[in-house]
Point group: C2
Chain length 190, copies 2
DNA sequence: CTAAAACTGCAAACGCCGTTCGCGGTTTCG
DNA sequence: CGAAACCGCGAACGGCGTTTGCAGTTTTAG
């Protein structure tokens, strides 16, 4: 499993083939099936192993929103360390113990929030999703320039990219996460 | 290409193999390479073809936020019609003409918003991302019950799922999209 | 009209993939 | 010590994306 994660970190999730992992272990591909039922099984184990890196969890502070943002940042860092995670996560699979523990901790942080359980679940799911979106965008190699695009057909886009109006630098991730959590969990801001 | 979309709608993106598409066209797999350079090429064409279904675009109304939400709903409906889209989109690929046209329309809707161009780009990207998150969640077959999970190890989760506090039904998608767009595009709400 | 050029469909083949299976060799346990 | 369990291994199966050479057809040029 550690070998599989090493391969994924180095060459991407596409390089995590049974033969490649087995080769890293100096053994044959078929031998892995003594311990795994399938490749999906291996991926599940890799995900939960990576989720374990989120420990130790930061303590809950005074402001639950700040704490949640800190949790989100930790997860974003995890995605940066293991870019293959964002590609592997969106499979319909049961969460492992480490993932459940992290989810449990999120619920603990949200304890002082007066919202329904269902709402909290949705909010956490959204926070995870938004974090994965940012990780994916960062991973995508070059911020696609508009080379080779006929701008004549897209007037608004043409006008936009020639607009030199500067934007004040800000923490886009923090802004988005806060907006989502506040929008879902705080009544008057819905 | 229409054949490929038909296969994907019926049996998922995994069933879109060169041989399957060729079989639907009563031809051989290799023959497709007379018109496509690779399988990724086919997927790109499928995506842009699907993006064409977003036309005609709804006219911009008085409230740009309402209009953007309507655009997001149209896109969510598209994802519902073609669930394979959410699995195919997150590849690093250049957007096709239909996708660009839709993006251009979004910029037109955001014209009255006093924000930097970069900010608008980020906001649109986030809207697309959040929409895909919802589509993915809907597609994921059964809302995973907590069967077979040892709740003893996760106290907060155990307490949460036994909590019968009802939540007022609300439009989660609208709430989230509005929160994100407002958080990114409206100054005082950051 | 004819000959050359371009295009098209097709089957076979290559190398990769996940997975299964049966074989000997090794370890563990009664 | 013998039996049972476990282990690693190579071969094999079917499927995948893709390449390639060969016929047949269509278009173009002389």
């Amino acid at each position: 499993m550690a070998a599989a994660i090493a391969v994924a970190d180095a060459d991407g999730i596409g390089a995590v083939s049974m033969r490649a992992v087995a080769a890293a272990l100096h053994t044959g591909a078929g031998s892995l099936y003594r311990y795994l039922s399938s490749r999906d099984d291996l991926l599940d184990l890799m995900v939960d192993q990576a989720a374990g890196e989120l420990r130790p969890y930061p303590e809950a502070g005074d402001d639950w929103l700040d704490t949640m943002l800190l949790l989100a940042r930790r997860q974003l860092d995890l995605y940066r360390r293991h870019p293959w995670l964002v590609a592997v996560l969106p499979r319909p699979t049961a969460p492992g113990p480490q993932s459940l523990a992290w989810f449990d901790h999120c619920l603990a942080v949200l304890r002082p929030v007066p919202a329904a359980t269902t709402t909290k679940f949705e909010a956490i799911a959204m926070m995870i999703g938004v974090t994965s979106l940012f990780a994916r965008q960062e991973t995508a190699a070059p911020p696609v320039g508009f080379t080779g695009i006929d701008l004549a057909a897209y007037p608004n886009l043409a006008a936009a990219i020639t607009d030199p109006s500067p934007s004040a630098p800000r923490d886009l991730f923090a802004t988005t996460v806060r907006s989502v959590l506040r929008g879902l969990l705080v009544d008057d801001a819905g």
